[in-house]
Symmetry: C2
Subunit: 468 residues, 2 copies
């Protein structure tokens, strides 16, 4: 490292704020072990002013930087390049809760706060911060916003974007934009907040955010139900939206093979419903009292049984049983990796086109490689499927990936394009899908994005080589 830069960083950040050696694996490697980088150094600023100082120094010395939160991303967006030229900027020490305004239903936290600590800060006041992800214990609010994280309650509360009212951001010039705000309405200028949200650290470094909370629901009902087909599941979804309105907080779908893998690799998890082509996890959350919500839920399920959209239903009779249902859903990823390496797709299509998309794409895949096994599950209520492809039973996963990953990706992403869908519903672009994005995104949109990046980060200092 340039000795002047080194000494300036040392002075700015102090001993604890600058790592020059040690075991950096938790910073340099993503948690799935797919990306391995090498950082120039690791900056751990403890204040927004220090973040601004780091960015200013990087700009002065022409060193690029990679912002990192909890390093739980799925697309390699927070891992430095492998040539040792990039400064890794960890936000982990910027982890204070700055303000909780109960009557305004807002929580202002620093970027390095874990999602769980934000959830707990809200819960302690009887409020809910509804973003919910598998990695919530270690992912951070800054990362959630930089990637516009999704999760299990998007159907009701939207993505991370929808839960953020204001941001504090360090720009590529090292200025601090003080855009924290507890306002629900503010039509004074371009929507900078939403431009930074989802930009994966390529336009600025998010240092703090004001989040919107909601009152805790007073009652919740969870069920597992079985459906003969995705058409039936879609009919159930329409029925549930009409009957439950905003009380419908989850509509997760799982195909039979997903649950078969869970049964096989995690036999300790109970599965009390008969196997079926499709199982749906349905949840209502209501500000009404529990007895009323139960009546509403049972009447919905009875209607669905009558009209044939569901075959069987199992209502959770306790919080423990509801957790078991969720555990089944959330164990699919692990069961799948125990079965062996596979090809993952985090895709979205319009909800109305899911049955048609799955039928058409399943058929094309089967024709391409007979014996393929589909691990198809996800947030059907949002049109978002984790449409994953497991090797035929008689093919070694390594061989499968080596020969089929690229053509299968092309086949699936072509189909997604035909159905007006997205090749990254909630995981983002990072390194993993950068080239796909360049090939598949509307060229006018790509041009606008490149123009914005060049205007806001003319030195290309912020997370270069990612995203665009």
């Amino acid at each position: 490292m340039n000795p002047q830069l080194l000494s300036a960083l040392r002075e700015l950040l102090g001993e604890a704020g600058l790592l020059l050696n040690g075991d950096w694996s938790r910073y340099q490697q993503d948690w799935r072990g797919r990306y391995q980088g090498r950082a120039l150094a690791i900056a751990r600023p403890a204040s927004t002013a220090q973040v601004a100082g780091v960015v200013q120094l990087c700009a002065r010395y022409g060193v690029s930087l990679v912002p990192q939160g909890g390093n739980t991303g799925l697309v390699g967006g927070g891992v430095p390049s492998s040539d040792g030229s990039q400064l890794l900027l960890s936000l982990e020490r910027l982890n204070q809760v700055r303000e909780l305004d109960i009557p305004n239903l807002t929580l202002t936290v620093e970027a390095g706060c874990t999602l769980q600590s934000a959830q707990l800060a809200a819960e302690a006041q009887g409020l809910l911060f509804p973003l919910s992800l598998a990695s919530e214990g270690s992912c951070t609010i800054g990362g959630n916003l930089a990637t516009n994280a999704g999760g299990t309650q998007v159907l009701r509360y939207g993505n991370a974007r929808a839960m953020c009212l204001g941001l504090e951001v360090v720009t590529a010039a090292g200025d601090v934009w003080s855009g924290l705000s507890g306002l629900r309405k503010d039509n004074t200028g371009y929507d900078l907040r939403d431009l930074f949200i989802g930009s994966e650290g390529t336009l600025g470094v998010i240092t703090a955010a004001t989040l919107a909370l909601v009152p805790q629901p007073r009652s919740q009902m969870t069920a597992l139900v079985t459906c003969k087909s995705l058409d039936a599941a879609l009919a159930l979804l329409s029925l549930a939206r009409g009957r439950a309105g905003p009380a419908l907080t989850a509509f997760e779908v799982m195909n039979a093979f997903s649950l078969q893998l869970v049964r096989q690799h995690l036999p300790q998890l109970r599965q009390d419903l008969p196997s079926s082509p499709w199982t749906v996890l349905l949840e209502l959350s209501s500000s009404d009292d529990p007895a009323h919500t139960r009546t509403q839920f049972e009447s919905l399920l009875n209607l669905a049984l009558e009209d044939g959209s569901i075959q069987d239903a199992l209502i959770a009779e306790s919080l423990a049983q509801s957790r078991n249902f969720w555990q089944l859903r959330e164990s699919i990823s692990m069961a799948q990796s125990k079965e062996g390496l596979n090809i993952k797709h985090d895709i979205a299509v319009p909800v109305s086109r899911i049955p048609e998309f799955v039928a058409a794409t399943d058929a094309r895949l089967a024709a391409h490689l007979p014996g393929l096994r589909m691990v198809n599950f996800g947030h059907m209520g949002d049109g978002n499927l984790h449409y994953n492809v497991q090797s035929p039973p008689d093919m070694a996963p390594a061989e499968f990936l080596a020969h089929f990953e690229s053509p299968i990706n092309q086949l699936v992403y072509d189909a997604v394009g035909e159905f007006g869908g997205s090749i990254s519903a909630e995981h983002g672009i990072g390194q993993l899908k950068r080239d796909e994005l360049a090939q598949r995104k509307d060229p006018v949109a790509l041009g606008l994005m490149r123009t914005i990046k060049a205007a806001l980060d003319p030195q290309n200092l912020l997370n270069p080589g990612r995203f665009l």
Copy 2:
């Protein structure tokens, strides 16, 4: 006009698509009569391709243009300059409903569709497009999105921004960005959609949008209640949010003088509640059956009577009575203008700070000019007040405006700034607040906005002199 531009526009748009003379008052003057412009000509393209063609010609000949929807704006953003140099681009002929996808809950319409026609297209299928404004019969979807319109249901459904999934936009270069999308989740790139929404025609011309619908609520309850103070109204709001959750769809506040003006100037409107410092219009909309919603509503009002947050309550017993309550609320603007010219402020502060903000600012205004009368009403649930100032009874409105408009604006906007608020909650910037924005907005935000404008519209062709 340059004869080559004229002949190219004629060829592109045909007879009906290009107005060169006639009575242009409905295009050139805003409906409140505050802004009077003069257009070079009026282009009325009938397709997105024609819009792109107009923009390309304007770029080639260096003529700037002003996009216009229903011309119902409140800040002069759609009225051309007075020097006759700008082409007025009316989207009124681009008014087709392109697609309604019922199971996906989406409606794709062209920019010139009126808000009401979008509402009706949804309603015909038992669905709701929840944006609702006084001008809905004549304002257009393009204008609603360009200004990120608010209205009476923001509390539940958000601003126009929150109801839009995708856009089609003609860029300043005359390219068409085909960003129409029925997806709830799509993390593939910068959020261009939200950058164009609220940019008031300065970054691109919105030609079509995909809107998110919701199922029609099955029941609705409306009440007028009286509160001794804004603190009491805030307590009622917190109680209602906790008890009713997302069923709370309106929380509109009106001070005593607002309703006194209605009584005086529109005596035909019934007011069956005793006068009180504050009256709140409260509404629940639910997917539950009417009997249950009524029980829930009555129990909420009983709690509020018990804890002293309200004094009196009048529940609408019919749809007609509910409409009467809304008519009271919506007649304040007219009653106010019958009383005489006044100084309007469309401001927002965090909901929690409304009582304190109003007390402090009322006191400063009273000290500045004794006898001032406050017409204070609006969307308290969103923190958005129409905090309007009427002359003292013994002062002629014209004299009042001439001498006090500027200092009163300064006083109010200073207070808004102190309380972390916005000087334009839902009406936008346009011509009216451009200079205030330049003075009061965070300088880093202003710098970012100017950089974006220069990058996306380097010739400054789109609505120049507005906004920034």
